[in-house]
C-alpha cells in the first residue's frame, strides 16, 4: 500500500494560494524567518502522481507527493511577489501564520525528504511536468491578470476533425500541454467532419466546443 504525503498544492482554484494571496496583495512578505523549506506541488502534477501511484505496483509505503525542487519560503515569497509585481518586505509574524494556516504553520510546512522522493519517482518512471526553477514563476504567471494559474505550457492545436489533427491533439496533450483546439467552418463540403468528429474528439479530451 502506498501512502501519499502531499506538498502545498498550488492552483488558482484556491487551496493554499487562496490563503497566501491576501497577505501578498497587501505587500506582506516571507513567513517567519523565511528559511523553512516549502515542498510544493502543482495540481496537475499531483493528479499525475495519484494516477501514477494507482498503477505502479512497485511503489509502497510513505511517498512524498511534492515537486522535485523544494524552495525556501523566502524564495517562494520573492518569486510570487515578483510575479504579482508586489514588493514583499514585511515578514508575516508566526502568530498570524498560525491563525491563517493552523498547524501547517508550525514546521509542518517542512517536508524535506526530497532526495528519496526523487529517487522513488525516477525509479518508477514518473516525469514531472514542472521543470526546476521555472515552476513557481511559470505557474503563478497567470495570477497577475486574474486568469487561472497555468500549471502547464499552453498550445494552440489546429483541429479539422481529420486523423492528422486528432493525432496532433493527442501528441500535444501527451506532451503535457494545456490545449486550445481551434477549428474552422470555412464553407467546406465535408463540414460534417468538423461537426461530428472534431467535437467528439474534444469531448473525449474533456472539453465542450463553442464559437
Amino acid at each position: 500500500m502506498a501512502k501519499l504525503r502531499f506538498g502545498l498544492v498550488l492552483t488558482a482554484a484556491g487551496g493554499v494560494l487562496g490563503k497566501m494571496l491576501p497577505p501578498f496583495r497587501s505587500a506582506w512578505g516571507k513567513a517567519g524567518d523565511g528559511k523553512q523549506y516549502m515542498s510544493w506541488i502543482s495540481m496537475a502534477d499531483l493528479i499525475a502522481i495519484v494516477h501514477h501511484v494507482i498503477g505502479a505496483q512497485e511503489l509502497s509505503g510513505p511517498i512524498n507527493a511534492t515537486s522535485p525542487n523544494p524552495v525556501t519560503n523566502e524564495e517562494f515569497t520573492h518569486t510570487l511577489g515578483r510575479v504579482l509585481e508586489r514588493p514583499t518586505p514585511f515578514p508575516v509574524p508566526a502568530m498570524v501564520l498560525r491563525a491563517m494556516f493552523g498547524q501547517m504553520a508550525d514546521g509542518g510546512c517542512c517536508w524535506a525528504v526530497h532526495a528519496s522522493c526523487r529517487r522513488n519517482w525516477n525509479k518508477s518512471g514518473l516525469a514531472f511536468d514542472s521543470p526546476a526553477g521555472a515552476g513557481i514563476a511559470g505557474r503563478a504567471s497567470g495570477l497577475r491578470h486574474g486568469a487561472p494559474v497555468m500549471t502547464k505550457p499552453r498550445a494552440i492545436v489546429l483541429l479539422s476533425g481529420g486523423l492528422d489533427s486528432a493525432t496532433a491533439l493527442a501528441m500535444a496533450m501527451a506532451e503535457g500541454y494545456d490545449v486550445v483546439a481551434l477549428s474552422f467552418h470555412y464553407g467546406q463540403r465535408h463540414a460534417v467532419e468538423l461537426k461530428r468528429r472534431a467535437r467528439r474528439t474534444c469531448l473525449g479530451c474533456g472539453t465542450a466546443s463553442g464559437s
Binding site: M150, T167, A172, M173, V180, Y186, R189, A208
Partner: protein, 113 residues
C-alpha cells in the same frame, strides 16, 4: 485541454478547390497518384489562414506552441504542408510576434495509409 474554439470563415469566396467549389471530390485514388500533383482537394490559402488565426490566438492565450497536423503523404502534394512552408511561417511568426520569440512546431512523424 482548455477549450475548443470554432471560427467561421468563408473560403467559398476564393473557391478553386473540390472542397469549396463545385468540383467533384475524387475518392479511392491509389497513393502513387496522390503524390504526383497538387490535388483538387487542395484549398488555396487554407493553412495560411488557419495558422494566422492560430498565431493570433497564441498571442492572446499566451501559448508558445502551435500544433499543425500535416502528414507525410500530404507533404508531397499540398504546397502548404511542406516543410519549407512551415519553416517560412515560423519565420514570419518570429518577426511578427513582438511579445516573445516563439516557435511553431510541426509534427509530421505520422503517415496515413
Amino acid at each position: 485541454m482548455v477549450r475548443h474554439l470554432e471560427v467561421e470563415l468563408d473560403l467559398r469566396a476564393v473557391g478553386g478547390s473540390a472542397l469549396t467549389a463545385d468540383i467533384p471530390v475524387p475518392k479511392n485514388r491509389p497513393p502513387e497518384e496522390l503524390s504526383r500533383e497538387i490535388p483538387v482537394t487542395y484549398v488555396p490559402a487554407r493553412n495560411t489562414l488557419f495558422l494566422a488565426y492560430a498565431l493570433g490566438l497564441a498571442e492572446t492565450e499566451g501559448a508558445a506552441d502551435i500544433f499543425l497536423g500535416v502528414n507525410a503523404l500530404d507533404y508531397s502534394g499540398y504546397p502548404d504542408c511542406r516543410l519549407e512552408y512551415v519553416a517560412a511561417f515560423r519565420a514570419s511568426r518570429q518577426s511578427g510576434d513582438l511579445r516573445r520569440a516563439s516557435r511553431a512546431r510541426r509534427h509530421s512523424e505520422f503517415t496515413l495509409r
